[in-house]
Subunit: 239 residues, 3 copies
């Protein structure tokens, strides 16, 4: 479900559920969150790469599970576990977007420090279509990252964002030919990992602290809106 | 003064004072604010388009009225009524900038979610020239929308912004040939209006809530600076 | 060490320590801070230009002094004096980046309103390499000015930013051929100085007030991280 590979001080975490296009069910949310927490605690790890196995980065929330939550058959989601781990991650986090990124597969990119996208990758949020509120603090992070109008367009109109647009909008730092993606990302990760861990932690932590309160507040607002949409108490969303 | 037209769940509000280039006097401020409030309360309306009649979007504050306020002959302005309505608007708001947009005609665009500009449109703030402070929370919203430097340049140097620059700067999402503007905007509005109203409200509200306090604080600062400039109590600006 | 030149209401402050590439030691920090404070207090000055003498804008922190601070031989730095003056500067501040800008020579640009870069200029932060935290509120200002990803890349990977990239990223408003830099900057400054001082102050102050708390908080976090890195109490960094 999750593959881990270390190369010097760079750890690669691969979402490895390719038969479901790496869609997040409770188990994958928790496994990904636990992998990030472990990488954070391990002083041998300076930089983390997140990528997906197969042709997708992640198809997002497992919709079968969303249906069970929406219908009251399931009362918990692993979603907060992944989000908490992303928000707490105090080392450089690089995303290698190897293919399609939908929903949380897209919104989690706003929690990564450097995003590299394969030329064939594309991303999309289906919130309007599914009739659900934004998630993962995207209601605040997307306006910050891509500007209000592009954020509104992505969130309200559910348009596909191409790899080229991702760079133009500031979602991604660089677009890379599909076959060269991992080499490019590993080279950048190794370059950053040459710095002392203390300095990297100080840089990332001071950056994160500048948005911590707003991200937490956005998550609370979105959770409340989600609960209102589905008619239950927001507390059931807690892990 | 204001023309209203509904097409399915999309309402178009047209500033209709073309003989004055749709400049805002007290009556137009209030009529526009009331039209937005009515559209917000009407569950049959999912998306609103704002545009101008004739060759201008809006020439901004009616300067004759500004002179009366500055000289103490008038003690109230409709300005806060429009601003309050913009800040409270919890549905997708699209601006179709059909022509020149000056002052509040420009600054109100930072309160819209998607802005489409006709190729011949251009925009400008005259604050430095007129010797007045920024307005409509533009002192905070412009740095957020277009970056600090372009905001400083727009606010301090009063430069004209072309339709092409508006897109480059992130003021507008898209530039459209003049004759095709309304068709393009209506198509986008109809596309967004396909989503459930609840989801659109949740997206817009969670986005707005992420900037509500900062926008309110910026308005208070600007109102105080305006009162200081003209030597009267800020309370007289209240509606 | 500092050269001052007035032309009508425009004051040019030149960092004038070319033999050290205008690197900041305690004396230059304080002289630059004092020059900004004096320009702020002087009602004959409407706009200030900051530039560097010789081929560099500024090589940043004087490294010999940093070593003395890090080793406990020196217990104070002029750094806060410059930063306080930048944060308090309530008139338009224009940077003419005539050459290389490193460390504080780069991060101080995020405190300027309009930045013009000579074609041959380039900029860089060496924080990761030196093993030190970000400074001058860059942990918050850089994400605001250039976006999270480019900020992370600049701060973590220490990459050189070219004049062309500076404009593309939003660090600079305009790139100018080397020999034309000062003429271009002086023309823009004179244009802005045509506005009344009161309006310029109102514009700049309302803009600054919108980020004052976040900048102060970022400086406190960075100072703490710096103290932790070098194992002493943050109070010694105070001027």
């Amino acid at each position: 479900m999750i593959a881990i590979e270390d190369h010097d001080a760079v750890r690669t975490i691969t979402l490895d559920r390719p038969e479901a296009l790496n869609a997040f069910d409770t188990a994958l949310y928790r496994a990904a969150g636990a992998a990030l927490d472990a990488a954070r605690s391990d002083d041998g790890v300076k930089v983390v790469i997140v990528t997906g196995a197969g042709r997708a980065f992640s198809a997002g929330q497992d919709l079968k599970e969303l249906e069970r939550i929406a219908s009251g058959q399931a009362y918990e989601s692993g979603f907060p576990a992944l989000l908490d781990a992303l928000c707490a991650f105090d080392k450089p986090l690089i995303a290698a977007v190897n293919g399609v990124a939908v929903g949380i597969g897209f919104t989690m990119l706003a929690h990564c420090d450097l995003v590299f996208v394969a030329e064939s990758a594309r991303m999309r949020t289906p919130f309007g279509e599914l009739g659900v509120p934004p998630e993962a603090a995207s209601s605040w992070l997307f306006p910050q990252r891509v500007g209000w109008q592009r954020a509104a367009h992505i969130l309200m109109a559910n348009a596909w964002v191409s790899a080229e647009q991702a760079v133009e909008y500031g979602i991604a730092l660089e677009r890379v030919p599909d076959g060269e993606l991992m080499d490019r990302v590993r080279a950048e990760a190794a370059h950053i990992a040459a710095a002392p861990l203390g300095a990297l932690r100080a840089i990332k932590t001071t950056m994160l602290d500048g948005q911590r309160d707003q991200v937490a507040a956005a998550r609370r607002r979105e959770d409340r809106a989600f609960a209102v949409t589905f008619g239950f108490d927001p507390a059931v969303l807690d892990d």
